[in-house]
């Protein structure tokens, strides 16, 4: 296993910039998840690491060695493709061992290594079958085994779970993590699913439009987002965002009055946005807080999400009403659609963003 580093990577296709000066270090044995929306450059970054794309500028280092000019096979990386890329005409065993056959590894040794890899992922009983006879999850295991048998310095995984159904995805997430721990492997894992990112990664790197937004452990990404984009991208349902306006009695975000945190003045001269996560809004039927009307009730098992419109039904103008927020409530509260509830924004759970740059000015505590 080895470290993997992107140094100043820039990738340009004609006029389009896919990656803009990416600097990212993956530690030895770390599972780094690169997450972002479509077009963020995450797949490009992976393919650059693999050697399937040439860089416009910058360097890729694996184990300290500069591999930027080297073709994929010389970099000692293994890749698991989104579509698994299994050879339809070969058996599972031949699929796994294809690299060994190309390198003319003696048959007995090759068979042994294939069997070992297959057992690690749990498909040892299927070595004689063909890909078309396997289910999606089984095919994915074969793709993993093929990567394993190469004994690479780093694993590159391109959205490996996105072709699986929801339940299988949860199962495979756990298995991948188990595999990672067992092997102590350096893994670069690309996904658009932020749940996968938060649950699986040792560290998470968030990309947007080819630029790195933030790198850190999942907890840090979730609780201390560097900017509005990261805050809104991570967490489901997404963070509520309310513009901050100057009212007669001070600053308000929607109907919520704002108090400056102790000891620091408001950042002057900037437009601001307030962010609060759904789980931090306190909703009661007739407790403290501002009134809100229930628009949609989503029941998700043990949690319920309420889509609310702030302000009493009938809208009093000027009170910052009419804005939509989503709140997460526990089991007990099941208001009817159209009914009125009260929403409170407790102290210390709000984020303050610069409305123009998106930068996080004040983190929640």
């Amino acid at each position: 296993m080895a470290t993997l580093a992107f140094q100043g990577i820039r990738k340009q296709y004609g006029e389009t910039v896919a990656l803009d000066r990416l600097d990212l270090d993956v530690a030895d044995g770390e599972l780094m998840v690169v997450v972002g929306p479509s077009g963020s450059g995450k797949t490009t970054a992976l393919r650059v690491a693999a050697g399937l794309e040439r860089v416009t500028a910058g360097a890729v280092r694996i184990g300290g060695r500069d591999v930027t000019r080297l073709p994929p096979v010389a970099r000692e990386v293994a890749m698991v493709f989104q579509s698994y890329a299994l050879f339809p005409h070969l058996s599972v065993g031949d699929n796994i061992g294809i690299g060994l056959a190309v390198r003319r590894v003696p048959k007995r040794e090759a068979a042994e290594r294939v069997r070992a890899a297959a057992e690690l992922v749990g498909c040892a009983g299927q070595l004689d079958r063909r890909p078309f006879q396997l289910s999606g999850g089984e095919r994915q295991r074969v793709a993993l085994a093929r990567a394993l048998v190469r004994e690479p310095a780093a694993f590159l995984l391109d959205e490996p779970l996105s072709n699986l159904d929801a339940q299988l995805r949860v199962q495979m997430r756990a298995e991948l993590q188990r595999l990672h721990r067992r092997l102590g492997a350096t893994m670069l894992y690309v996904t658009h699913d932020q749940v996968e990112a938060l649950t699986m990664g040792d560290r998470v790197a968030v990309l947007r439009d080819g630029a790195l937004q933030q790198v850190g452990p999942p907890d840090e990404i979730y609780r201390r987002p560097a900017n509005r984009f990261v805050a809104g991208f991570v967490g489901s349902p997404a963070m509520n965002l309310l513009p901050v306006v100057t009212a007669a009695d001070g600053l308000r975000a929607g109907p919520f009055p704002l108090e400056p945190p102790p000891g620091s003045p408001w950042p002057a001269g900037r437009r601001l946005e307030l962010g609060v996560r759904p789980e931090h809004l306190r909703v009661t039927v007739d407790g403290p807080g501002v009134p809100a009307e229930v628009q949609v009730v989503e029941m998700a098992g043990h949690e319920t999400y309420l889509h609310l419109t702030l302000g009493a039904p009938g809208h009093e103008a000027g009170s910052g009403s009419g804005q939509a927020v989503v709140a997460r409530v526990g089991d007990g509260l099941r208001p009817a659609v159209g009914s009125s509830v009260r929403v409170e924004l407790p102290r210390g759970h709000a984020y303050l963003f610069d409305a123009d740059s998106g930068e996080t000015l004040v983190q929640a505590t």
Binding site: A50, L52, P71, P72, V73, V77, A78, M79, F81, Q82, S83, A85, F87, P88, H89, I98, G99, A101, V102, R103, R150
Partner: protein, 276 residues
């Protein structure tokens, strides 16, 4: 309309058409079974009476059909594998090239397809004459270098292009060089196309009349079509005789078609005639 009559309505024209197309071939066979030397028929007859198979051995006596068949087989044995190899190599290489280069080669191939063979006849002959290769089989085998026809190259190109790109990327990651990729992955996945090209190349080479006519002078080197023509000039009015020769020349090719037709004429799916 009832189901029965709708079926009939659908089948009848198709049946008539099929009969119309097969009829000449049927007549070819039945005509060859007529006893030679009898006065010509006065009325149309489907099957002559008496049925005589004697024309076949007679044809074999008059011209050296076994030898010509052997010659044709030798040419075919050289030309067909060479065609499949060169056409699939070229098609594969084109499919791995960047889009623009591949596009240029496709355009060149299409233009080459349009060039009439007659236009090249005289010049090719002059070229082979200068190389002293006339009266040999080399001019007959040479077109296999370009896959016999640019069309077969294009056929392979389109087939390889249809394979998922990630498959080839996986090959690159495993360190496979293009030839290994062609051998281990690409060709096994286009087997029906390769078989079809082999069969079409067989038909083209076997039936080729113009090139043997122009290049071969020594009767012992004749291929079957040329031998058939010789037979027909020996006894121009003895039609059962030369029909027997025609049947002998045609049978292998019909057999090849019947074998390959299930890839192209039955298995038509909406994805085009390369669908599997």
């Amino acid at each position: 309309m009832s189901t029965a009559s709708r079926t009939a309505w659908r089948h009848l024209p198709a049946l008539l058409v099929a009969v119309g197309f097969v009829a000449p071939l049927v007549f070819m066979v039945t005509g060859s079974l007529r006893q030679a030397g009898l006065p010509p028929p006065r009325s149309p007859e489907l099957l002559p009476s008496p049925v005589a198979f004697g024309n076949y051995p007679r044809a074999f006596e008059l011209v050296d059909i076994p030898r010509y068949t052997l010659n044709s087989l030798v040419v075919v044995a050289a030309a067909v594998p060479l065609t499949v190899l060169c056409a699939s190599w070229a098609g594969f290489a084109m499919s791995r090239l960047p889009r623009r280069s591949a596009g240029a080669l496709v355009a060149v191939s299409l233009v080459a397809l349009m060039v009439p063979l007659t236009a090249l006849l005289v010049s090719r002959f002059a070229m082979f004459r200068i190389l002293r290769l006339t009266d040999t089989w080399w001019p007959l085998i040479a077109p296999s270098l370009m896959g016999t026809s640019p069309f077969y190259v294009l056929l392979f190109y389109w087939s390889f292009r249809r394979l998922p790109a990630e498959l080839f990327e996986a090959c690159r990651l495993e360190g496979m060089r293009p030839l290994a990729v062609w051998r281990r992955v690409a060709m096994p996945l286009v087997r029906p196309v390769a078989v079809a090209v082999a069969v079409f190349a067989f038909v083209d080479t076997w039936s080729n009349f113009l090139d043997p006519l122009v290049y071969l002078f020594d009767e012992r080197k004749f291929t079957v079509p040329l031998g058939l023509r010789a037979l027909s000039t020996l006894d121009p009015n003895n039609y059962p005789l030369f029909l027997a020769g025609a049947v002998t020349a045609t049978a292998p090719v019909i057999g090849a078609l019947l074998y390959v037709q299930r890839f192209f004429l039955q298995e038509f799916r909406g994805s085009g005639w390369l669908g599997r």
